[in-house]
Symmetry: C2
Subunit: 331 residues, 2 copies
DNA sequence: GTGAAAGCGCTAACAC
DNA sequence: GTGTTAGCGCTTTCAC
């Protein structure tokens, strides 16, 4: 069917071994042979079949990245960083989308079992520590964006606690004392930590938070709207809101705007992640920016070190965020 | 290193052929043998190495999808449809991001050359017809979202011309006669067709369009803003705008809002694609919705038919859009 | 500097 | 119903 290394060898008048050597840039090949091989490769339009190569070498030079959704610019930016670091070492990144369901995520991990990839990075995984730890025993994996309590694997996340703290601090610095939070019922480490930081800042500043100022739903857009309905129905309305994700912040802004509440002056809103739409929204949304590019590059570099046996790092790394103040928190 | 089919055969007391038969659900295996094999597979925690299988069978059961960006919900939705159709036939989808640059797109096509995938779908490709046609001679590929003039390959797109027509028609039906367009200088088939449909609707309704009502830049957000600046500086301002993408529509809305122009009443805006943020934006954005899921399923089904030799379809298919009217075009 | 040959893990004739 | 074996395309040891 297609042209193989044998065809090249025959046409070039050398052995397959020599062709292979040229292909892999091996030292001991005469200049004449190298030229002959390269010429016939071009002439026959040959490209090596990686299935053969990979089978032989027991590596694939590709890394699987599983993301819950492909619509989240946070993930996109992190993956861009990964691609950069991967390319630098001759690796390919291939991505797949789990929809945030453990079944699909598990199915996609098959690529690890069947040796189609050399390792995997799980973005915002929904798997439990048991699964992850047993996985890590046989394969090279890393977590990014979302840690997993009790998982003993390479993990790279933003400092969620400090981010939550700084979000609250930004609101406090603007003079707010009636500060609400839109969080989630899910027990992800990231949201728990963002919450924790938020409450720490409030406590540290002697601000207490009435029960009605806390809304917990899930990550869906409707919950941002529902939160605002709850807050605005209170006798003593909050003047500022921290949403643990930008999507929830956008939803909150939308709902408040629809209710005639003026964002910025009457109600300050700050989100988390700094997704692309923050600066496109009306008004632009203040947020806590994750160092996406850096996180992506870092986790991939570390993972490749593990894969190549240069390290065996199961460290938990937190990276520094940036506070982005925009119109949604007023001038 | 890892457990192979041989190990399973030995442990189960059968030949590798029998194990392979069980693995592939082949008929002629006794119940006893099947049980023995399945038990040892479980006991040894065996999973087949696909590199071996794929090399032998000369197939990988995976399809590459190249997208310009992973931040565009249009692509995400289409890929979701593809994944559905692929899974139904036992295929995996793997995606990669080209950043809309031919160099990266070309590099990613290596997976086709080196037999890592059985075929590829190019979303919004930036490659020329020459490249695509020669590619199609040796590999199974399809285009989706964005056609390519002169490319003789399976193509699935929305009916851009009719979409542009209907967008203009929606504005005309609202009583507008001063209608501007934000388009692009790039020569993509999709934007050309959207424009064409737009002008056809205007002409058909006896509306002519002053030079200043046409803005052409690129797909970037800033261009939506620049367009509004151009329009609002005119003596005779337009009362409605068609933007050939939702991003440009959002930018236009943002700029107009910043200028104090009331969207909906003073200026109607309609976009194209119906990305997720259309219904989250303030105001919500009217748009022309592509039938993403259907397009994804369809193109993949067709591609797999080509791959499996059931067809050799290089057809150009256009799918029907839906007009979504929201707040940005007024009540 | 080069070639012969073994073998990576698997499937599919083919023989029984 | 089951086993033996060739071979997919490649790399790499081992001779020379």
């Amino acid at each position: 069917m297609s042209v193989t290394i044998k065809d090249v060898a025959k046409a070039a008048g050398v052995s397959v071994a020599t062709v292979s050597r040229v292909l892999n840039g091996s030292a001991n090949v005469s200049e004449a042979a190298t030229k002959a091989v390269n010429d016939t490769i071009k002439a026959l339009n040959y490209s090596p079949n990686f299935l053969g190569r990979n089978l032989r070498k027991c590596v694939t030079n590709s890394i699987l990245v599983i993301q819950p959704s492909s619509e989240h610019s946070l993930y996109s930016k992190i993956i861009a960083g990964m691609q950069e670091a991967a390319a630098a070492e001759g690796y390919d990144i291939i991505t797949s989308i789990s929809n945030g369901t453990p079944e699909i995520e598990n199915r996609q991990l098959n690529m690890l079992y069947n040796r189609t990839v050399d390792g995997a990075v799980l973005l915002g995984t929904v798997l439990g520590s048991g699964t992850i730890n047993s996985l890590a025993q046989n394969y090279h994996i890393a977590l990014c964006c979302e840690g997993c309590q009790g998982a003993d694997v390479l993990t790279v996340v933003v400092d969620d606690e400090l981010g939550g703290y700084d979000a609250a601090k930004a609101l406090i610095d603007k003079g707010h004392t009636k500060i609400a939070i839109i969080s989630t019922l899910s027990d992800t480490v990231s949201s728990a930590n963002r919450e924790k930081g938020f409450f720490r800042a409030l406590e540290q500043n002697g601000i207490d938070i009435p029960e009605g100022y806390v809304y917990r739903g899930d990550y869906g857009y409707e919950h941002g709207r529902a939160a605002i309905q709850q807050f605005m129905a209170l006798e003593d309305r909050p003047t500022a809101v921290f949403a643990i994700s930008d999507l929830l912040a956008a939803a909150a802004i939308k709902e408040a705007t629809d209710m005639g509440v003026k964002i910025g002056s009457e109600l300050a809103v700050i989100g988390f992640d700094d997704i692309t739409w923050c600066e496109r929204y009306i008004p632009t949304i203040s947020s806590i920016a994750q160092p996406c590019d850096e996180m992506g590059r870092f986790v991939l570099k570390k993972l490749l070190e593990n894969i190549n046996g240069k390290a065996d790092d199961t460290g938990y790394y937190t990276m520094k965020h940036t506070v982005m103040l925009r119109a949604s928190t007023g001038d």
